[in-house]
Subunit: 427 residues, 2 copies
């Protein structure tokens, strides 16, 4: 009986792994260009790291186990709580601001479907210790630089930006009481994901009067910051949030990112810990689905028992982004496993593979990716394997050449072949 | 209350992560030089993937959980069973031989102590589809190339090589019955790890007569293949195993690895699935501890319900090797998070950081790792941050320069500074 893999997990065969590494290298390079440094934490974290801070959706979807000492361990569903724990543990010793990035495997026990897997990777970029919009703009700039490096442009994706404080102030201004704002946010995050009638029903169930629901509809019709109603702007909270967003868009313009970004009052983000600007990258074509997002979380460190520190960042999963990239035909160029294949002209005669190992060694020492036939087949079978491997060069070791210290070098692209000395090889 | 990390797991702060990436890059390069391609599988695997094949020690140390559908999922303790599952799933379509490598996070629930952690990384190199010793030699050559790339030499580590078939034949020749060979192997794998008296007691408990125990002692006194007793060589099994080992050492000599390798009859390896040559890398200095090892496992694929295929490979953990490397002072050179820091001469005046973002963009577009002060501090505070970040160059944007299209470029290594145009910057 063959064992099957677990549903919602992936096997990365060489072509899948090449795609994953191509993606990770570009994420890494974009982070490093902006002076971020890589960190990581464990996959196993104490369950309580998530139960309070990540919000009910994440906690419901946790994989967790009880160890022999009855401790409850979770498989990390996201990286931000780990980052918070790590910062809290060394807060005094870390340079400020903290510019960290991470590419981590995360786990969510949700219904496996297209774009939703139980094991996935997430690129996290976080900036801790800076209060102003410059930090939010910097994170958005890194996210966009990463997408550009993958071949995406502003015609493919857009970054929709809002501020939770703005929506909260507006919701309060509509007369919805403070204690219900969190619940209303969780419902509003479903906008565009559930039918409008279902959304209206959820808001009704949450106790919103028809007048309040209409007020929300009116807000969501805004298309730019200029649409913010003069009546609403009269409250300090709303005015401050709008001014902050104007500064943020000014910074994004300085980064040359105006084409990529627009205001969208409807952006809420699901995570409970966001406190300020929030943003979401979405696919401009097709399903217009959310690809990833980020935001400001100024209270997380204080809530974790550390000295409070402002923070912002984003987490970008590899699954939806991967679908989008493949739809656009973006990915790594195919690469052969080896550049050189070393063959022996008369296997029976010279003894295989002893005769060719010296040549293999020389090529590998020069950093050339080199294979040879471990089975000692005929020259014909060796040449077939070399062609199958897609190598550029075949080196043929023969008895005559061995006496003169030469081998035959065949260029598989041109079919040309010539005698070269061992010293010339691979140069 | 601050949440503590789980015992036996690690947080990778930037300096730890730099070390890990330095290690992984060298593992990856050594694998690729030998024409191996990277693969990966899930962390979550069905528990039954391990319960039959990996041997009791691994199964006792599994982390596992029961999902909502009552399926038992294990956190992978090693990569080889996943490799077997992946090969079995696509056996007909995969090119032969299969040359795969993998760097995976694995989990073992053992007592956390120096050199033993509950989460660790493992470099796996596997060659599937080749029967002869050439494949075993190729894997050992990749392992040694990886160690060389890390700065280790034959004065640091040695590769001790044996063949399970040789020890099995000798044990049977001593009169120990077939059904007890597996148990005796498991005990012999503890040699050097427990005191000799404890080992003798375990062998006694396993039912070995004093004469048989003395026979084992005599075998373990052998120092080279030449020491194999003529009486023992008279059996076909023993003679064949010795001939195979001689061929293997001949191949290793062709790779230029004689200094690194020696025969050691005492090498057994803990994993149940090994069937032929087995080898172990050990530290030549200090504690002479086992660092990692590998071997041939010709029956694993058949046991997994696939078409039987010969296979060999190794798995190298990062924990013991990491200790060894740090003891030898080997690791990456320190690298600053950024190469350039862009400062503004008069923050209050020109407005921060809008004025400098254009310069930051240009540098990052050229691939230069570039930071700037997101808080818009004074020039003095910006220069201090630049020095703390360890950058090589500071670019100072001033109002006068802005009018002429120039900035000041300061080389922090020499203290020299000069005016450059924006076009010259980063060139």
């Amino acid at each position: 009986m063959k064992v099957q893999s677990v549903r919602g997990t992936r096997d990365f065969y060489p072509e899948d792994m090449a795609f994953r590494q191509w993606l990770f290298e570009r994420w890494r390079a974009a982070s490093r260009r902006a002076g971020f440094v890589e960190v990581d934490g464990p996959v196993l974290e104490p369950l309580e790291l998530y139960t309070d801070k990540s919000g009910p959706e994440i906690v419901e979807q946790l994989y967790w186990l009880q160890d022999k000492g009855d401790r409850r361990l979770a498989l990390r569903p996201e990286f931000t709580p780990t980052l918070g724990r790590m910062v809290a543990a060394r807060q005094a010793a870390l340079p400020a601001p903290i510019r960290w990035f991470n590419i981590s495997r995360c786990f969510r026990y949700e219904r496996a479907q297209k774009g939703r897997l139980r094991e996935f990777f997430q690129w996290n970029v976080d900036l801790v210790g800076v209060e102003g919009e410059a930090a939010d703009a910097e994170c958005i700039a890194v996210a966009i630089d990463g997408m550009k490096a993958l071949g995406l442009g502003p015609e493919d994706v857009e970054v929709r930006v809002s501020d939770r404080r703005l929506l909260a102030a507006l919701v309060r201004h509509l007369g919805i009481p403070d204690e219900r704002v969190g619940q209303v946010f969780a419902i509003l995050d479903k906008r565009g994901k559930v039918p409008p009638e279902a959304l209206a029903a959820m808001l009704g169930d949450a106790g919103l009067a028809p007048r309040e629901r209409e007020g929300l509809e009116r807000l969501f019709a805004w298309r730019s910051l200029e649409d913010v109603d003069a009546r609403e702007l009269a409250t300090d909270e709303v005015r401050e949030a709008v001014e902050g967003l104007r500064r943020l868009f000014g910074l994004l313009a300085a980064y040359g990112l105006t084409d990529w970004c627009r205001f969208d009052i409807g952006i809420v983000r699901g995570l409970a810990y966001y406190t300020g600007p929030v943003w979401e990258v979405s696919d401009r074509r097709g399903e217009h689905r959310a690809v990833f997002g980020g935001g400001r979380y100024d209270r997380l460190l204080g809530d974790m028992g550390a000295k409070p520190m402002p923070a912002c960042g984003f987490g970008c999963g590899d699954v939806v982004l991967g679908l989008l990239l493949r739809e656009r035909g973006l990915g790594p160029a195919a690469e052969a496993a080896a550049e050189y294949y070393v063959a022996v002209a008369a296997p029976g005669e010279t003894g295989v593979p002893i005769a060719i190992i010296d040549v293999v060694r020389r090529l590998r020492q020069q950093g050339k990716r080199t294979q040879f036939d471990l089975k000692g087949g005929s020259l014909k079978s060796q040449m077939k394997k070399a062609a199958d491997a897609g190598v550029r060069f075949v080196v043929i070791v023969g008895r005559e050449g061995a006496e003169r210290g030469t081998v035959i070098l065949r260029d598989m692209a041109t079919g040309e072949q010539r005698d070269v000395t061992l010293e010339e090889l691979g140069g």
